[in-house]
Symmetry: D2
Subunit: 148 residues, 4 copies
């Protein structure tokens, strides 16, 4: 495990039956979804509420995503989703993730990259102009990472 | 099999790996999704395009759904989704479905019931007032059922 | 709300972004999945661990499911999933569900019916012969319902 | 578009309603699933049937996956999924994908990497020892790529 979430708490997720496939493991696409849950939870804990952001007319689509699968999660296990902000400049935002099982094994490590669009026009925006308070928080999270 | 689609064609769906669960069968929730694909396809064939309906400010949420599971679908099989309109009065719309495997066995029979809402206000609407052309088609489909 | 879970706790589920659809509400198929999470959690709390049951060679497929949709759940809300056992005779098991939002509104009420199969042969079994301890618990839950 | 499928046909997929999210676009996790459908279809066309491989005791889990999202797919559109084999040595298999919309725009480009495990023991295997006929086909596909 290499993601230190500082004061923030990881997100815990109990594996649902419908998330398994006939290999009797969690289907790999679900980890991408857990990463989404992880970043939403992490940002909310730190004062950036994505549901609120959308009410302010900002959407944050995924520009790229990648995942390395090391071990499998199984039905009914509790997975731990750890998230950190890896990059932010108002136009692009990157997260990194680790998903662990109850034994502390890293099952998956992942990355995602996001942009910010105006919800109505679907045009790119600089978040510093639209939601500066969210930017300050995000910039602070990055700084804390670097100082650690 | 008891659903006669008249001139309309059933929808064929090859079972995806991610639709299986660790029972090595299709997870039961997916048939609910296939029913959605089935009714969309069936209505489109008959001139009622749901994507277009939404551009006209009408959404058609599900009010109830039910499914009886008789046999299982397996990975890579081709499922046949048969749909018919069972009731329509401008305010409520009901569909019935049968899902068959390649051997012609009925795997699932299902029903769904829908209402019509104004997309912006989320208030119920009578489709006869908003999209009469869609209503005529739907009423005709019902009549053809009854005459059969 | 009409489901009294007695000493058991409801399952709480925060709505994921990927569970929404372009109506900006939770897609109706997801409630079927939450019902599965609900019954698994409810039975585990009462000493019947479905993951363990499968290790004993028993699977419990869904025979039928039904859902009535009254209100919608939205992204990031916390849904409360309430489950009770409605019928059990060793061969068939029925559950009832209510899903509520944070305001206490019943969003969905649902039912599911299950049978028991030998995992290897896929033949029906009577759970009283295979896992009598699970049956006693389930029968007791039913009795508590009736006495309430 | 840069993936030439030679004699093989792309897989066409009509976007389901349940695949959209409240951004009114296809949720990014679904493209990972379409890539799975794409490689299964591509390999089947070329004589390597993954369902059959599993009956021979071989599973092919995903080791890594990555996706770049350029444009969005929308409900009811028909997406074209193009797949090619990028690497194979009996132990690792890599695919590349492009997903296009009806206008021919590349929406997503992706990669996946796979290993081969014995289904029962979950130990890595060299496919050349277990299923040499599948390996010959895959090696030929790679060679055709290189010669092109």
């Amino acid at each position: 495990m290499s993601i230190d979430m500082k004061g923030s708490k990881p997100l815990f997720h109990r594996v649902s039956y419908f998330e398994t496939d006939q290999m009797s493991i969690v289907h790999h696409s679900n980890y991408i979804r857990w990463m989404e849950d992880g970043r939403t939870d992490y940002m909310r804990q730190n004062g950036v509420d994505y549901a609120w952001m959308e009410t302010q007319g900002v959407i944050m689509p995924v520009v790229s995503v990648s995942c390395e699968y090391k071990e499998s999660a199984f039905f009914d296990e509790i997975a731990e989703i750890r998230t950190r902000v890896a990059f932010f400049n108002g136009v692009r935002l990157k997260f990194e993730y680790e998903i662990l099982n109850e034994k502390g094994h890293v099952l998956v490590s992942g990355k995602s990259e996001h942009c910010f669009l105006d919800k109505a026009s679907r045009k790119p925006i600089n978040l510093y102009k639209k939601l500066p308070e969210c930017c300050e928080i995000t910039a602070r999270l990055i700084k804390e990472e670097e100082q650690a």
